[in-house]
Amino acid sequence: MDLRISKGSGFLLFVVICLSLLHGSRGEIPEIPPKPSSGVTIVPQIKPDGPQAFPDAEKANLPVFTMDYTRIQIPFEITLWVLLASFAKIGFHVYHKITIWVPESCLLISIGLIVGAIMYSVNEEPPAVLTTNVFFLYMLPPIVLDSGYFMPTRPFFENIGTVLWFAVVGTLWNSIGIGMSLFAICQIEAFGVQEINLQENLLFATIISAVDPVAVLSVFEDVSVNEQLYIVVFGECLFNDAVTVVLYNMFNFVAEMPVVEPVDVFLGVARFFVVGLGGMGFGILFGFVAAFTTRFTSKVREIEPLFIFMYSYLAYLVAELFAISSIMAIVTCALTMKYYVEENVSQRSCTTIRHVVKMLGSISETLIFFFLGVVTITTEHEWNWGYILFTLLFAFVWRGLGVLVLTQIINPFRTIPFNLKDQFGLAYGGLRGAISFALVFTLPDNIGRKKLFVTATITIILFTVFLQGISIRPLIEFINVRRTNRNLDTINVEVHCRLMEHTIAGIEDLCGQWSHFYWKDKFMKFNNRILRRILIRDNRAESSIVALYKKLELQNAMEILDTVAGDISAAPSIVSLYEEKKSSAKPKRKFLAADLRNMHDILSKNMYKIRQRTVAYTGKHTLPNDSHTKEILIRRHASIRRSLRPGSFQTTVVPRSHKYLSLPAGQSLDSKFPPKRLSYTDDQETMSEVAYPSSRSRFRQPSRSSSSRAMMPLHRLDTLQEAPSVDTLNESRVGERGRTGRGTPRANSSSSDSRVPAPRRQPHSSADSGSADNFRNGHHEAAGEEEEEERQPSSPTPAWAAEPRDSAAQNPLLRRPQWNPKKM
């Protein structure tokens, strides 16, 4: 560990020194727009010692080695800065405990401070990253996109009233309160700040009311606070950015006016609504357009992620164009888009999108905090004890008061009211961060005491981030805020809880109450009838449950392989255990961990969803974590390839467990993959049999609110069990293993064989999502256009579902599934 620490810091030091040297050697002030769009033209230098245009008397030798720094300067420095910040991030995780007790933002600021000190001592200016344009056009959108994209939609919409209440009214309360108080303070002669008038105070107060929850959210996640609190803090921060920016612009405008009239106030309010609703409108518009576009991108998979980014960024820019809330625009765009896009794009694209969104957001955040530290040292400050200390005081006081008062008002409307501890968490979690920082730098220079404001803002940011950020975790744990129990350890709990949720839904229906679920239901109906038809490509079925099965059972198989050292034939499988149990006198079954996971998966995916599912934490700093299973599968690829060689399937036990391995209970792969499929797919895609659309289905999990009454008649399985031919065919095929899944033995049963060699050829890297994608591709193309799993809360009653069960196909193996999604 010491070595690693020293390596990490060694890197850091190296890069810092590099930067300083580079800077020092030039004496220029580097301007680094992340994209060189500021019209800097890079002129190729004419090397004095290079070949001359005119032949000269003296012959110059061809230079073997030249250096032209100015040409690459800007991108180079950008890259170095980003790298530096990222190294800092790596460095933190070297020692785990640090990140538990000290939020990452603190660490980043500290590193920034150090670097700033270094730069200051070499008399260098830091890059002007935090100018208006750079920050608001380049650094802020990724962060907001990240927040919006990974917002847990269901809890969000359930709490939307509270969120908006706190965001809008809370921010107003804070700004006006702090502004007024500060104005009152300014009147006191002793502090020497009389010339700050009311508008400027209000402006300043608005700036410092912007809450940035980054640190807080990660603490909340770690401590697993109850979901309500989490989502309110999350949502509040997101929307209060928007509100802050609106207020800021408004007050800015007003500050330049000599006199404020009531008309202006009224206009201000009107403007507020225009801005907010306009932002949302643009966001929704772009979201729908993006969703619609992705409907047609099946042939251009590689650039699918691009659309997401382009459209959201476009939403942001267009909103900026009209000076309406770009943050709301991009957030609503992401929210709207996500649901439909994730159904349209391929698995790989989906993964790519998520990763890139997270990556960009993470980088932006890192850079911002980093530069916060750097700039702190290098700007000119103006310190005024009175003003600054009172700012701190008022910020605390007004936030606390605000939370208290607002909660009292909103609690009666909430199903689960906030208790005092929650309120404390809310109030204390009001850290300030990047937005305040950027806003204060964009203050127009005609404000007299701008430097004072800058200093005050920086102080309050540092204070809250360090003090509150570090102490919030012990405090939360100490006062024992209500936690959410995310670890459902037992099957019992999961089943019973779902039962209870259904009960509640039923009772509510019985009582004829419409809670907010009423609107949700309405929306879902509208969604399913109209929106989905337009926006979603028809021939993409929902992530097939069959695929889920395969994944689960394959995972199971791998667990078995692992535990029983690769000898499949001796391994107990669920099926065989079950059989055994039925016949014998109930031996206590041992459930492998994998079985449990399977069960939880099955339960969570297949239980009918009630309308009010509370679910799905997604982390601020991590991707939604469903990759657990996927990773197991990837890692085990090697082992399964090795162990599933032709020789090992010679025993008679094989067909049963083999069947189990490949398909749920005897179902032939081929009923999903008729031979025709092969013509569509290339080499790569056939690997998809061991595919894992897991991430896709699970990623979508949180946002899906309709019941997953699959129209996939998997009951077909039962019919297949009766077909003994499967077994015999299996056995006969055993010898023909040499083929990959693509070969001609695509008669029904061979599919199970073909599935097995598939892993062998699976490419090592990115196999998971690729194959998942391909699987679904193949699957969907195979099964034809009708294959759409309808997600309708008002889907056919069990009567319908039961019907296919009865109509057992004569030869189910050969019959192509004819799912008619439009059938109601």
């Binding site: 689960i416 039962l499 039923g506 019985l510 069959v546 099965y549 459930f591 039962d718 809360p793």
Partner: protein
């Protein structure tokens, strides 16, 4: 809000119900209106078919169990008082209730709610959730995508986890114990409109 005369006087035993269930008068009034709405043929009694008319309830996977939970065994009709008594289970628990041993456990306490949930499983009222009963509920709640074997495994596991006295069924105590970490009050409460 009702156009027909819905005042507390029309409701039989209104005060007694208020006392017994803890609903406020406004709640009772609203529930009475709902009762009348459901009672299409105006007999003052509800039958299972009346419940079935609620469309969403019909689509609820355990809708039929919920309905039958209202009717005691052998009862064919339901009057308003029983209706309210059952619904009282779902009132949010009173946090300030003093623990008085003499008082019977109110319907909306955690225990009452748990009992209700237990009865949803235990249709034959023998005090235990047998494997078959558990399987029935699981089958109802799980979509079409789960095989019989998976169901069996899940049921098996559930019983294994909860069953301490090895009788291959889950008694009420075992049920309660398995849910001790869950905040029953939150999960089984609705906010009654008034």
């Amino acid at each position: 809000m009702g156009s027909n005369s819905s005042s507390m006087n029309n409701i039989p035993n209104a005060e007694q119900l208020v006392q017994e269930t803890g609903f406020s008068a406004a709640h009772i009034l609203r529930l009475y209106e709902r009762f009348q709405f459901l009672d299409k043929d105006d007999t003052g009694q509800l039958r299972p078919e009346d419940f079935g008319a609620v469309r969403e309830l019909a689509m609820n996977p355990i809708g039929d169990r919920i309905i039958s939970a209202f009717f005691s065994p052998g009862q064919e009709t339901l009057d308003f008082a029983s209706f309210v008594r059952v619904l009282a289970h779902f009132r949010p628990a009173d946090s300030n209730r003093t623990r008085d041993g003499a008082q019977p456990e109110p319907a909306n306490s955690s225990m009452g709610k748990l009992k209700f949930a237990f009865q949803l499983y235990d249709q034959d009222r023998d005090g235990k959730i047998s494997r078959a009963e558990l399987l029935q509920v699981l089958r109802a709640m799980l979509g079409m995508q789960v095989t019989e074997e998976q169901l069996q495994s899940i049921a098996e596991r559930a019983i294994q986890e909860a069953d301490f006295d090895q009788d291959d069924a889950i008694s009420f105590d075992e049920f309660r114990k398995s849910l001790e970490k869950v905040n029953i009050d939150h999960k089984m409460s609705i906010r009654f409109l008034s």
